[in-house]
Symmetry: C2
Subunit: 334 residues, 2 copies
């Protein structure tokens, strides 16, 4: 609900995911009063029996709603109730193409946070020559202090560590590579990440990174405030689309498909929210059914990997290392 595409269009993506993931169960949080097309969805999924459950609510938080006000007034919305179902463990993960702010705030309010995390972050992946680059935050918090950016680095590094990278390479998105580039907050973040990486050895800090270098240099995690991260991500998508169109004039359409699927945002799963104890995915507001399908398949994979419990134990290890470093710090070198 509350996405750019109407629910019955997005339901095509759900239907595809139901077929592709026979070992998963689905709950659709819907508001029949808000959209007549929800009736079509009910009809479509009746045949699925117990694998697809419908959870019906009277309210919808819309894209243009002011998030905090909407959460206060619309507790019986599909978005809030989806997050509450996640909190009560009735579902293992929650996916939304709706209002980012409302999703972020309700997740932060209702779900427990990973220990020591002040502010959760939305993480998205960007394909580079060296694999999948995790970028966070991509739009949940528009303005960030150094403490938040440092938290994002820790979260992103934890995320990559539980995916099998023992020492992820972390960079800070900035306007130049020198240590004094960016705002004071960036400079503090730089210093602190450099010290943390050296003290704890759980990630490498490669320093400041420019948008140009992201695709060439080996990098696993890119740290940024949500405003810049959101612009960064959408600019990549827009540039990819534009360049494809230029090339489409030169090439036969048949050869384009592989590159298109690499570059088009419709093929990316959404951004996942890191820092809360619950698996929340945010898809684009204009997500097409196929994008939603990709997101669902990805989130099922995350559930199977157990990324939330893994993140929790990774975080505990991290904090215990940090405590060791802090205790040892009185004798040891800075």
């Amino acid at each position: 609900m509350g996405a750019d595409h109407p629910p019955h269009r997005l339901a095509e993506g759900v239907e595809k995911a139901v077929h592709a993931a026979p070992d998963a169960a689905f709950t659709l949080f819907l508001s029949p009063e808000a959209s007549p097309s929800v009736q079509e969805i009910v009809a479509k999924f009746l045949w699925e029996g117990k694998r697809v459950e419908l959870s019906l609510w009277p309210e919808v938080i819309q894209q243009q709603d002011e998030p905090l006000g909407a959460l206060r007034k619309k507790r019986k919305s599909s978005l809030v109730q989806g997050i509450r179902a996640l909190k009560r463990r009735r579902v293992d993960a929650f996916i939304s193409c709706g209002n980012t702010g409302a999703l972020f705030i309700s997740s932060s309010l209702y779900l427990p946070r990973l220990s020591g995390i002040r502010r959760p972050a939305l993480l998205a992946h960007v394909p580079t020559q060296h694999g999948q680059l995790a970028v966070l935050d991509v739009g949940s918090s528009l303005q960030c202090k150094a403490a938040h950016l440092i938290g994002y680095a820790e979260l992103g590094a934890s995320f990559k560590r539980i995916q099998g990278l023992p020492r992820p390479k972390v960079g800070l998105l900035n306007v130049g590579i020198e240590s004094r580039k960016g705002t004071l907050e960036h400079q503090h973040t730089y210093d602190k990440l450099k010290a943390l990486a050296a003290q704890m050895g759980l990630f490498d800090f490669v320093g400041n990174v420019e948008g140009r270098a992201i695709f060439q240099n080996p990098l696993d995690v890119l740290v940024t405030d949500g405003f810049t991260g959101n612009v960064f991500l959408k600019t990549l998508e827009g540039a990819g689309q534009f360049i494809l169109e230029q090339f489409a004039k030169l090439l036969e359409p048949s050869k384009l498909d592989d590159v298109k699927s690499l570059l088009s945002h419709r093929e990316y799963p959404g951004a996942i929210l890191l820092g809360v104890e619950g698996l929340v995915m945010k898809c684009h507001g204009d997500a097409a059914p196929h994008t939603l399908f990709q997101g669902i398949i990805k989130v099922i994979d995350y559930v199977k990997q157990g990324i939330i419990p893994k993140l929790r134990s990774e975080r505990a290890e991290y904090l215990s290392s940090a405590a060791d470093v802090a205790q040892g710090g009185e004798q040891g070198p800075v």
Copy 2:
């Protein structure tokens, strides 16, 4: 001086420009003590006679220098003296691949500002389906209030008007298209630009623009804070390079050249500084000789067009329209 490439490498770009622009005269601001290769440049340009003048100074502002401190300590640097030569009208334009902050602050300090402009801005062009999109600010001011963003919109619109677009389309780079997206500063900027566009009719305000839509929608001016604008620009360059590399695997090299020159930042002239009465161009710190050549040719074109006096009169017209609107505002509609 103070660029990523040594002076004698960049001199190749200058040499090419000297040949390509037989009606232009050049002054090179150099610091022989800072780089032995400056001797090579002196030798190289001796044959040019009076068309290439060398202006030699003992100090260099480096990329990593803190701008304000560097300006105080290094008044006899090539950068400061170049700007002062511009102020004294010994040159018509000044191009630098050096420290952006020092260039911006010395331009703001030494050059008169266009009337009513609180903060100059660096403008760069990005090619889209609809032509050349002017983006400002791309890195001179990392944090911006609404008043600065509004000033950027006015400057960008003036720039496009003097290039023959009577009613440029201006957009605000944001994380969504709804009017309440972004920070409070973005929201104030949105409201004010909407009102200004309606009252004065000198530009159209198309509202908030996402990175994805920039290449598809007709847009002439994109307004952003310098941090986001810088990341935006460099991300486009990085993405273009990356996608080209993917395609290079499919295509013969011979067919790639046209698309490469469209997309590679080495083909873009640098960013020009708007808001001061002097033509200042900032090229990338890692500008190759060919980029510098492109920048020189572009800036000569701007000098010939007389963009600084044109901007001044455009600005005067703009302010007089604004005064009319303010006077008429008591009777007229809001």
